[in-house]
Amino acid sequence: MNAARESIVTADGLTKRFAEVAAVDGLSFSVNHGEIFGLVGPDGAGKTTTMRMLAGVLRPDGGGIVIDGVDVVADPESGKPHLSYMPQRFGLYEELTVDENIRFYADLFEVAQDVREERASRLLAASGMSQFRGRRAGQLSGGMKQKLGLTCALVHTPQILLLDEPTTGVDPVSRREFWGILYGLREEGVTILITTAYLDEAERCNRLALLHNGHLLYCDTPAALKQRMSGAVVAITSSAGRAAHAAIADLAGVSNVILVGSGVHAVVDDAASRIPALRDALQRGNVVFDDIAVTAPSIEDVFVALLEDERRPR
């Protein structure tokens, strides 16, 4: 086994309760050195709570966390110099300028001045922020705030980066730049844990953990998760998506139908035999459609299907 496959973050039976509700319930996973590991799941699945426990800002009620061989539940402070955490809510000081914020975090992590200057210049240049160094953080746009947050998080060369929904509310161009920086970090050997609500971003991760109600449903590479989905996805191109959805939702062999921009995606057990039935149902319902064909499942199809399986009584 080479070094790149060694696990650097391990959660074992992690549990956190708020009042009587278990936000995280016996969650176990392990993150390999140098990978981008995505935590995905619906709202309330426990993604943020998990991130906070990994960052050492929330104490778990049960279970263990080992970061780089150190038990951080026993000693939360021991993990902190090795990791950087970017909370979901913007956590920088709005009254301080971009440079002042960077300097503050560099000082807290005791980064040498020349190292700080070199890293800050490079990171700000990479995210197109160089001309805003004197601007107050409160006056930055949403995307620039997130890039500043990332710059502050990276100024001390962490081994592990914890990002809680870093691209929520960020425009597509900034998101692309943001991911560009993350890929660069991965090449430098930084391990990245990220939660995201955007499933196209989930596809960019090395491995994904799908959370539901505080526990782990599946943990695998995006490709393997797609394999795990039984059946196939049939794309129906139609401008009457809702009518199409209604016409085919209850057909035999159709496990799930979701609305997409171009029409609907239907998850079926066997594409070859079900496509004629779908076509008939649409015609019976007088639904106009342009095309009906098997398509490669997107990660969104997979998650909706996997979550649907989970919710359906067996």
Binding site: F18, R52, A55, G56, V57, L58, R59, P76, E77, K80, P81, L83, S84, Y85, M86, P87, R89, F90, G91, L92, Y93, E94, E95, L96, E100, R103, F104, Y105, D107, L108, F109, E110, R136
Partner: protein, 378 residues
């Protein structure tokens, strides 16, 4: 503790306060208004008390006596009435705090029997004022009485001392003019510093919670002691500025005599500031909202400092149980110290006991505040 991290906290806090001037307004405007409001507003001296006179005789003797009231610094004759109902109405309206009634047989009895009486009617609503007014009236009347006797004795060729063997020779120390302002203003400095100091730090941690910056801060390696020290230093400097401002106003504007040394003043003021800043910080740690922390700090610092510190209300006049409670009020020690420094010129050696209490308090508050701040959410 790393100096670099403390320095980073200090710089950040200073920039934040400088650019979000609400704290600065508290630090600078509050002492200014309080100093003048209370410095002028609270005055226990009774001067020019409005009285009305009811001279039922109208003789030269009666007019002589009433002139003495007029001439006295303590009284001002607001009205001369002709009947008892008029007198009652004047007191009811609040135009007069007291009425002096001279009986119709005033000079007749004085000449016949050598003794007579004057009636003083007092508005007892404010018992303290009434008491003091009564004392002053008695002084005026006694003075007149003595003069009458002296002139009578003079006619017999004798001096007063032969009749009155004992006389008090009084000499007032420390506050020679018996100005209540000299007693109130130094204590006022203590009250203002208690109020402002706790308000400043009450906002500092709760602001991190409200703005959402706490989550990131606690994920860094900074220790809770570093956070506390880094957050107290800027406000200690602001506190020094406030103290300097209040003390200068006390000495130069209100003319309170300053007889102590700056070293004693600086040492004791710093100890007191550490206590109040630490208490504000403690509330800030315990209560996550800025408004909540500032309200509680207000009630917890201002009321005890006003009522139980001996700033205006003398501690030895309080019930025994309340007197014991005052030992817990840190402002008590500083009020004692600052009054002694200003008026008596007391040095560190004279003030060892209150300084020691204050130092113990400062240590305890700081230790408690450092422990109270836990580097985690919820």
């Amino acid at each position: 503790m790393r100096v670099r991290r403390i320095k980073a906290m200090v710089v950040k806090e200073v920039l934040q306060v400088w650019r979000d001037p609400r704290s600065l307004i508290i630090a600078l405007l509050l002492p200014f208004t309080q100093m003048f409001l209370f410095g002028y507003g609270i005055n226990l001296d009774l001067k020019h008390l409005p009285i009305c006179t009811f001279d039922r005789e109208g003789s030269q003797f009666s007019q002589d006596l009433l002139k003495r009231f007029q001439a006295s610094l303590y009284f001002a004759i607001a009205e001369n009435v002709k009947t008892y109902p008029q007198l009652a109405a004047a007191i009811d309206r609040g135009d007069c705090q007291a009425g002096i009634v001279i009986p119709p047989d005033f000079s007749e009895r004085l000449n016949d029997t050598g003794s007579t009486s004057v009636q003083a009617i007092l508005d007892g609503t404010d018992d303290n004022t009434a008491n003091i007014a009564l004392g002053y009236a008695a002084t005026v009347v006694t003075g007149y009485s003595n003069d009458v006797r002296i002139s009578a004795l003079a006619r017999q060729g004798r001096a007063l001392q032969q009749v009155l063997p004992l006389a008090v020779q009084s000499r007032v120390w420390f506050n020679e003019d018996l100005e209540s302002r000299n007693f109130i203003v130094p204590g006022l400095v203590a009250v203002i510093l208690a109020l402002v100091g706790a308000q400043l730090t009450a906002l500092t941690i709760s602001r991190e919670w409200e703005r959402g910056t706490m989550e990131l801060l606690v994920s860094t390696p900074v220790t809770s002691t570093e956070v506390m020290v880094g957050k107290l230093i800027p406000y200690l400097v602001l506190g020094w500025l406030d103290a300097a401002f209040c003390l200068i106003v006390a000495a130069l504007w209100f003319d309170v005599p300053f007889r102590g040394t700056f070293a004693t003043l600086f040492l004791t003021t710093t100890l007191f500031l550490i206590v109040v800043l630490g208490i504000g910080y403690l509330f800030s740690v315990l209560i996550h909202s800025q408004i909540g922390a500032s309200q509680i700090a207000l009630v917890a610092t201002l009321l005890p400092a006003m009522l139980l510190s001996g700033y205006v209300f003398p501690i030895d006049q309080m019930p025994a149980f309340i007197q014991k409670v005052t030992y817990l009020i840190y402002a008590r020690y500083y009020v004692t110290i600052i009054k002694a420094i200003f008026l008596k010129g007391a040095g560190i050696a004279d003030l060892l006991a209150p300084i020691l209490f204050l130092a113990i308090y400062a240590l305890a508050v700081v230790a408690l505040a450092a422990r109270a701040f836990r580097k985690r959410l919820a």
